[in-house]
Amino acid sequence: MRVQIIGFGIIGKGFAAVLKDKRDVLRQRYGLDIKVVSISDITGTVVNENGVDIQKALQVMEKSGRLIDYPGAVEMGGLEAIEEVDADLVLEFTPSNIKTGEPGLSHMLKAMEHGKHVVTSNKGPLVLKFRTLKDTAAKNNVQFKFEATVGGAVPIINLAKENLSCDEIVAIEGILNGTTNYILTRMHKEERPFEMVLKEAQELGIAETDPSYDIDGIDTASKLVILANSIMGINATYQDVKIQGIRKITPEAIELAKDDGYVIKLIGEVKDSHLEVAPRLVPVTHPLNVEGVLNVALLKTDVAGDITIVGKGAGAIETNSAVLSDIISVWRNGNNRNDGKDYP
């Protein structure tokens, strides 16, 4: 399978690193040979029909941080690479932008129009134009996979769509942002004010310099929109989410919660077409009470009852578990599973 990487930041480089380790497994287990025919970042594009030297690309990035410094790289943008380079699948890893969706949105649509499957970790385009993307993929008869956009390594979407394919998912509740979970966990354990814990989280690189995306609930809301659309078939956009962040949580509130057997968590909830992100009181014994940077999702279903899934919601390596499983799924669907191989 010929693959193009668009966006060579944390997730893109993580993909390259994981692919290096997993090449043999993919070949042996699935007969899948992934050839990266181009890599693009904001500075330029490396193209090689026989496969770009991933190791070398990673070295260049480590040294200069600019892909254009790769010998033979050309000043070609992502969009042009999608148009010009022959490939089966586009990995869209550019930074998420929930205001315009760009440049990811154009990349994805262009790829689909050129008959290329799309696998992505980029939330923005899905939050704004989920329907358009799904329809464009269907029209062009290509697959569109985005497990890595929600919950990092935690396979929430595929769990619902593949393993609970007969169930009706009636509600979803979860902690979909590791940064806020980390801050609230430390506030709970150390009885310290929000600002102080946030500052430490920033020093540790767990929170961004501008933390609003996480702590004001924007990230959680974006993921909720994707879950509502993809799992529950609700045609919702970001504007439909009622959002309250965690800035105003005081140590006193956390103490009062603790005294009564609760922890405070930033919870995203979809129920009856209502999407809400808010700090909630979670009983300490409840399955959603997970600590640190962990993510968790509880799916309420009509047949299976409640199903809870916990795991790492971020990380360059962990997130690529979701990306690779999406690629494998595209590969298997493409092969119609009729190739005589005994898939696990």
């Binding site: 006193e252 009564d260 405070i264 009181l281 409840h286």
Partner: protein, 166 residues
């Protein structure tokens, strides 16, 4: 959940069976029946007390609806129907008239603020309050809406519990 029904039946044959069918029909398990034929109610009907175990509040609502349809007077032991809801309010909880906040919640029928814990770190700083609110099952949404109204009006943050417990 265990529920106690006080029924009032017409003094004609077949009434007791008519009253019990909706309970067994919803999967309820009847624990005891006290049939007091000597003491007629104010409305001249025969009082019957039925204690039973039923699945949940939805089943209870179904039973009540069905009994009403069958023209059977019924009152349910309210204490057993109550659910506890915990909320935390953050902001100038006291300065924005805590008494008024509680009144606004209590004025909803079937709702009562049953417990209150307050934490005030400093007179100038925001304080936090935890409230236990007792609510009849079917009006939880009304209470949540009222809390949102209060929060908007008084610029408070409301943290609701994830689940409402029996």
């Amino acid at each position: 959940m265990k529920v106690s029904f006080d029924l009032e039946l017409k003094d004609v044959p077949g009434q007791l069976l008519k009253a019990l069918e909706p309970i067994s029909g919803s999967g309820g398990n009847i624990i005891s029946i006290v049939h007091i034929r000597e003491e007629l109610s104010k409305r001249g009907r025969v009082p019957v007390k039925v204690i039973c175990e039923i699945k949940n509040t939805d089943a209870l609502e179904d039973i009540l609806k069905e009994l009403e349809k069958r023209d059977i007077w019924v009152s349910v032991d309210e204490v057993k129907r109550k659910k506890k809801m915990t909320v935390i309010l953050i902001g100038h909880v006291v300065d924005t008239d805590l008494r008024d906040t509680i009144d606004k919640i209590n004025e909803i029928r079937g709702v009562m603020v049953a417990d209150l814990a307050l934490s005030m770190p400093h007179p100038d700083k925001e304080s936090s309050a935890r409230m236990d609110i007792e609510v009849s099952g079917h009006i939880i949404d009304t209470v949540l809406e009222r809390l949102d109204e209060i929060a908007r009006e008084k610029d408070l943050v409301v943290i609701k519990s994830l689940e409402v417990s029996d």
